[in-house]
Symmetry: C2
Subunit: 200 residues, 2 copies
Amino acid sequence: MAASAGPEIERLIGLLAKLPGMGPRSARRAALALLKKREQLLVPLAASLAETAEKVTSCSVCGAPDTRDPCSICSDGSRDNGLICVVEEAGALWAMERSGAFRGKYHVLGGLLSALDGVGPDALRVAELVGRVKGGEAKEVVLALPATVDGQTTAHYLAERLSGSGVEITSLARGVPVGGELDWLDDGTIVQALRARRPA
Amino acid sequence: MAASAGPEIERLIGLLAKLPGMGPRSARRAALALLKKREQLLVPLAASLAETAEKVTSCSVCGAPDTRDPCSICSDGSRDNGLICVVEEAGALWAMERSGAFRGKYHVLGGLLSALDGVGPDALRVAELVGRVKGGEAKEVVLALPATVDGQTTAHYLAERLSGSGVEITSLARGVPVGGELDWLDDGTIVQALRARRPA
């Protein structure tokens, strides 16, 4: 495997191959492109990654990645504090934001409950969510979780944990295709699913 | 487009999207994976890119990227100095090395002649090749260029420039599929094409 490229390039190819959607061959192509475009791509990407590693942290309120803590959404006074949208990952949060249909706050779980992968409530930001709902001004929690087995299991679990808090628990309408991931949906479907949200 | 992610993450996504095989969506997924795997992926990749930018240069003899100059292949005394394999890019060099069928030296052109893109001989390392062939111990130059219009134009041009130097000019056998790129071939085809090389 291209031993002649030297250990530094081999290491770079190995790391690039770990990115989602990349394999050994596309990682080699990417490394080659980086070497060819040293000033336009290699140096800026190295700097951007270093800056991201240095500056970007998780928001202590919602868990979203941001350079600020609380993040730009949590500290945005124009957004509705009465509405909390629970998402699996930041990718789903970004998809919600792209749809432009939600003007409340978020809560990033950091994953889904999974018996198969041994992920329990303690591995997710569930306690933080319960704390936010009990101590805060939330009137409605929108569960925007994927329509997969793990996603729905997590939604049921959260609805149970939050029942009795006096807060309305809703989930996205069944506009989300079964088995679909939120990050891959078109904005129109997200808008419709949000508008038709229903009690969980 | 995910304005909430902050300018640092937006910049990272924009740079990742410039990698071959990546688009805006897969770049977001990659950025998300990097943020989730900070210590296993984000920090090492940032360091690897910085190290590559700092240490890897082009070999002054053959033009291949390496941390050493001359590169590890050019300074390998066990390889045949009488044989020079001319390739378009380092990706093709790596493909040749993976095939294990070539034990000579290389010359990386840095591209192909292209009337359409306005790439002339001066934009490539042609003069360096002619100098190496005239001043060196080369007995045979193997043109391992893609079987595309630009690749074959470049091969004809090089064969003409090197004619009269007393060096045999060969090119890879027509085992290379027409329109195919060297980097994507299986090793067996490369081995056969190299064995059946013929005068250009």
